[in-house]
Symmetry: C2
Subunit: 500 residues, 2 copies
C-alpha cells in the first residue's frame, strides 16, 4: 500500500470512531436534557454499545498496522504528522483497555448519572455510594490497564490533559495556592462586602434565558449552529460541524447561576465552533485538551464577562430586560456584586479566587480514591473535613458537599484539575491578547467582541491538536504555563474593589 492510501485509510477509520463518539455525545446530551426518566435503563444500553463499538473500531488491527506503516516514513505534511502522532496516542491507550471494561464503564456511568441526580436531589449519599465504589474500582482497573509511571492518577489525567502529570499539576497548584491564601485573607480582612441583594432579586427564568441567549450570541456563539437548553449540571457538547449544544440551569432568585453559566458554556461553544471543520473527526480538527477547553470558557465567563467594560455595555440591557428590578443599581455596585469573593459550598458558584480551592480539594480526594487511601463510602467525612480545613466551612449536607458535581458519576476522575488549569491558561492567554490587540476594553464597552474572538480562533481554536496544551501556551504567549498571570489578574481586579 502506498503512503497516500495508508494515510487516507487511517483517517477514514479514525473518523468513524469520532462519528460514533459524536453520536454518543448527542445521545448523552439528550439524556441530560429531554430523556424521560423511565428511559434511563435503555439509555445505558445504548451508551454502552456505542462505547463498545467505538473501542472496537479504534482498536481494529488495521489501525495499528496503518500507524506502523506511516510511522516508518516520516511525513512531510504537518497535518499528517499531527494526525498520526495523536491517533497513535489515542490508539495506544485504547488497545490497552479491554473491550469489556470499556463497555462496562460506559454502561455503569450512564446509569450512575441518573442515580447521582436522584441522590443529589434527595441529599442521599448512601444510595450513590455503591455506584461510586463501582466506578472507582473500574477506574483503577482502567489505570492498571493503560499503565503509569508514578501514580495511577497519571493514567486518568492523561486522557483529559495529554502529557500532564500529577507531579507537575501538584507543583503549579501549590504555587497558586501559596499566593491565593493571602489574597483571599486580605479580601476578608478588608471588611468590604458588596450588596448581596442585587443578584438575588426576582429574575423571571424566561427572561434570564432571553438575556443569556442574546449575550452568548453577542460574544460570538452562532445559534444557527447550536442551541441552549436547561439541565441539572450544565455542560457544552460539540456534536459536530454546525451542531454544538450549550446547557445551563436557572434559579429565579440567583442571576449569577444562569447568566455566568451561559457565558461559560458559550466560551466552550465558541471553541467548538472555531475548530477547523475541514479536519473534523481527526486530531487536527479537535480541541487540544480539556484544560485549553476550559481556558476558553473561563476567558469569556470571567476575564471578559465579569469585567467592568462588558457591563458598561450590558448593564443597561439587563436593566431593560428586568424592568423595575435593577433600575437604581450603579455599574460599580453591579460589578462589585458580580465579583464578590466569599468562601462558599458550591464549586460552580464560587468566585474566581476561592474556586481553585474547590479544585485542589477534589484533586487531592481523587488521588486518595485512586491510591486506595480513601474508601468511596468515607467520601462525605473526608470531604467535609478537608473542606473545613481549606475553606473554614462545613457543608450542611452532602448535596452541598460531595454530591454537588456530576463528574464522578460520569467516571470523570482526573477531570477536575483541568478546571484550574483552564483558569491559569485563560489568564495567560488574555494577558497576551491584550498585548497583541491593544484596547480590548474599548471593544467590550462598545459591545464588540469580534477582534478577541478572531484572535482566539487563530491562535487557539484552529490549531486543533497541532500542539499539546503546554506547547500551545508557549507558542501563543512565549512562556510556559505559570500561576503568575492569574494572580496578577486577580490582584488587579480585586485591588480596587476591596481596597487592598
Amino acid at each position: 500500500m502506498d503512503h497516500h492510501t495508508a494515510y487516507h485509510d487511517l483517517i477514514d477509520g479514525f473518523k468513524n470512531v469520532r462519528l460514533l463518539e459524536s453520536i454518543g455525545a448527542l445521545v448523552g446530551w439528550d439524556q441530560h436534557t429531554y430523556m424521560p426518566v423511565k428511559g434511563a435503563g435503555h439509555r445505558a444500553e445504548q451508551m454502552g454499545y456505542l462505547a463498545k463499538l467505538g473501542h472496537e473500531k479504534l482498536t481494529a488491527p488495521a489501525i495499528g498496522q496503518l500507524l506502523g506503516e506511516l510511522e516508518r516514513a516520516a511525513a512531510t505534511d504537518e497535518i499528517e504528522r499531527v494526525n498520526v502522532r495523536e491517533i497513535r496516542r489515542v490508539y495506544n491507550r485504547a488497545v490497552k483497555m479491554p473491550s469489556k471494561l470499556v463497555e462496562e464503564i460506559a454502561r455503569t456511568v450512564s446509569q450512575a448519572q441518573n442515580i447521582w441526580a436522584e441522590a443529589r436531589k434527595k441529599n442521599d449519599f448512601p444510595s450513590f455510594a455503591p455506584w461510586l465504589d463501582k466506578i472507582v474500582t473500574l477506574k483503577r482497573e482502567e489505570a492498571t490497564a493503560v499503565g503509569y509511571k508514578d501514580s495511577p492518577y497519571d493514567a486518568l489525567l492523561d486522557e483529559y490533559e495529554p502529557g500532564a502529570t500529577t507531579a507537575e499539576i501538584t507543583r503549579v497548584f501549590a504555587e497558586l495556592r501559596a499566593d491565593l491564601i493571602p489574597l483571599v485573607a486580605a479580601i476578608a480582612a478588608s471588611g468590604k462586602k458588596p450588596r448581596k441583594d442585587i443578584l438575588t432579586r426576582e429574575f423571571a427564568v424566561d427572561r434570564q434565558h432571553m438575556f443569556g441567549q442574546a449575550a452568548a450570541a453577542a460574544i460570538g456563539f452562532d445559534f444557527q449552529a447550536g442551541r441552549l437548553d436547561t439541565t441539572v449540571h450544565p455542560f457544552c457538547s460539540g456534536i459536530g460541524p454546525g451542531d454544538c449544544r450549550l446547557t445551563t440551569r436557572y434559579h429565579p432568585r440567583e442571576l449569577n447561576q444562569g447568566l455566568f453559566g451561559i457565558l461559560h458554556e458559550a466560551g466552550h461553544g465558541i471553541y467548538e465552533q472555531g475548530l477547523d471543520t475541514t479536519h473534523f473527526g481527526t486530531p487536527a480538527g479537535s480541541f487540544a485538551s480539556l484544560g485549553i477547553h476550559e481556558s476558553q470558557s473561563r476567558l469569556w465567563e470571567n476575564q471578559v464577562g465579569r469585567g467592568r467594560p462588558f457591563w458598561e455595555h450590558f448593564l443597561p440591557r439587563l436593566q431593560q430586560t428586568f424592568p423595575g428590578t435593577l433600575d437604581e443599581i450603579t455599574i460599580d455596585e453591579f460589578i462589585f456584586a458580580a465579583n464578590n469573593v466569599e468562601k462558599s459550598f458550591i464549586r460552580v458558584e464560587a468566585d474566581e479566587a476561592t474556586y481553585n480551592m474547590h479544585i485542589i480539594l477534589r484533586f487531592e480526594l481523587e488521588q486518595a480514591l485512586m491510591c486506595g487511601d480513601l474508601k468511596p463510602s468515607d467520601v462525605p467525612g473526608a470531604w467535609n473535613e478537608k473542606f473545613h480545613h481549606m475553606l473554614d466551612l462545613t457543608p450542611p449536607n452532602d448535596a452541598q458537599g460531595c454530591l454537588q458535581d456530576i463528574h464522578w458519576s460520569m467516571g470523570g476522575l482526573g477531570y477536575f484539575p483541568t478546571y484550574t488549569l483552564g483558569n491559569l491558561y485563560a489568564a495567560q492567554f488574555m494577558q497576551q491578547a491584550r498585548q497583541d490587540l491593544g484596547d480590548l476594553d474599548g471593544d467590550f464597552r462598545a459591545g464588540q467582541f469580534g477582534r478577541l474572538k478572531g484572535w482566539l480562533n487563530d491562535k487557539i481554536h484552529r490549531p486543533g491538536q497541532r500542539y499539546r496544551a503546554g506547547e500551545l501556551c508557549r507558542r501563543v504567549t512565549g512562556q510556559a504555563l505559570s500561576h503568575k498571570p492569574l494572580i496578577a489578574y486577580l490582584r488587579q481586579k480585586y485591588g480596587p474593589l476591596y481596597g487592598i
Copy 2:
C-alpha cells in the same frame, strides 16, 4: 454449537442491530425537533454511518449460519419460532441490499428531509425535484436488489407491511372507494354543514399543549416514559423501553391540528409502550406492521377521540382551558365541527372519509414512479390532475399539494397505503372491542379509557410479531381484513350528523 447457544447468539446479534436502530431513532427525532439548521450535513453523516453499521451487523455471515442451524431443527418454543421466522425475513431482505446502497439511501434521505422542509416552506418544488429523483432511483435499485414477483412496488410494501401485496391492497382499496364515493356524495348533497368558526378561534399554543398532554395522559400514554415536542411533520418514535417520543405541531387558530394530532401520536405511543419489554430488540417485542401501528393511532384519534362520549367528558375541560372561547358551544355543535366532511388539500387535516382518497392518490402515484411511468419532475402536474379527478379540487400550490408530506424525502415510498390499512384495521378492531367489552361509551363518558387500553395491550400490543397483520386481524376479530367495518362505522357516525 447446541441449539440453545445458537438461539442466544442469534438474539444477541439481532438485538445489537435493533440497538443501533434505536440510536438512529433518537438521532432522527432530534433532527426533527431540536437540531440547529447548520447541523444538517453532519447529521446526514451520522445517520448514514448508523445505517451502514446496522446493515453490516444484520448481514454478518454468523447471523445467516445461526438462522440456518436453528431452522434445521424446528423450535418447540413459540417465541423462538416467531423470532427465527421474522429475523429470517429481515435478514433475507438485508443481505440482498448492497451495503453501499443502504448507506447512500440513509445519507441521502437525511439531507433530503431538510431540503424538503425548506422547499415546503418556500413552496419551491424545483429545489426538491433532484432529490426526489435521486430517491426514486435509489428505491428502484432497492426493489431490484430485494426482488419481487409482480410489481417493484411489492418490494417496498413488504418492508412496512410484511406479506402484503400491491394486488391485494389495490383490491381492498377499490372496494373501499366504491362505497366511499356515494357516502361522500350523499354528505355533500345533504346541504348540511357544521359551524366552521368553532375550531378556528384563537387557541393559545401553550394551552393547546397543556390540554393535549393531559388528554394523551388520560387515554393512557405514560409521560414518565415519553415526551411530547413540536415539529414540522408530526411523528411518534419509540426509542426503546421507557422512552417513546410524540411530536405534534400547533396552529393558534386551528384546534384540530394539534389536538387530534396528539391523540393520533399518543395512539402510536400507547402501542410502543404496550410492547413486551422483556422481548425488546427481538421480533416478539416489536410492532406487527405499520398498518397495525396506524390502526392504533386511528383508533384513539378517530374511533375514540372524535366520538361524542369522549367529548361529553372532555368538552367542559376544553372550555375551562380556553376561558371565554368556547363557552356557548354545545356538545352537538362541537361534535359536528370535529366531524366535518369536506374535500380539502391536506391529508393530515382531512376528515375520516375523504382521507382515504388522499391515500389512494399517493398509492397510485408511487406505483407510477416506481414503474417509471411518471418522472419525478412531473409529479406536481400529475398530482394536481389526479387530485382534481378524485377530489374535485386543484391545489393552489405545491406546498399544499405534492410537497405536503415528508414521506418521499424520507425514502418512505410504499408507506402511504399503511395509513388506509390502519383505518380499516382500526374500525375492525374497535367493532370487536365493543363486542368484547360491552358499554365502552359509558367508560369514555366517565373519562375512563383503561379497559379499552387493556384490551388493546392484550390483543394487539403484547403479541408483537407473533402473527403477521392479516393473521392478527383474523385472530382478534375472527374475520379477514374487510372494508365493511370502516364503512359501517362511517355511516353510523355521519348518518345522524348529515341526516343521510
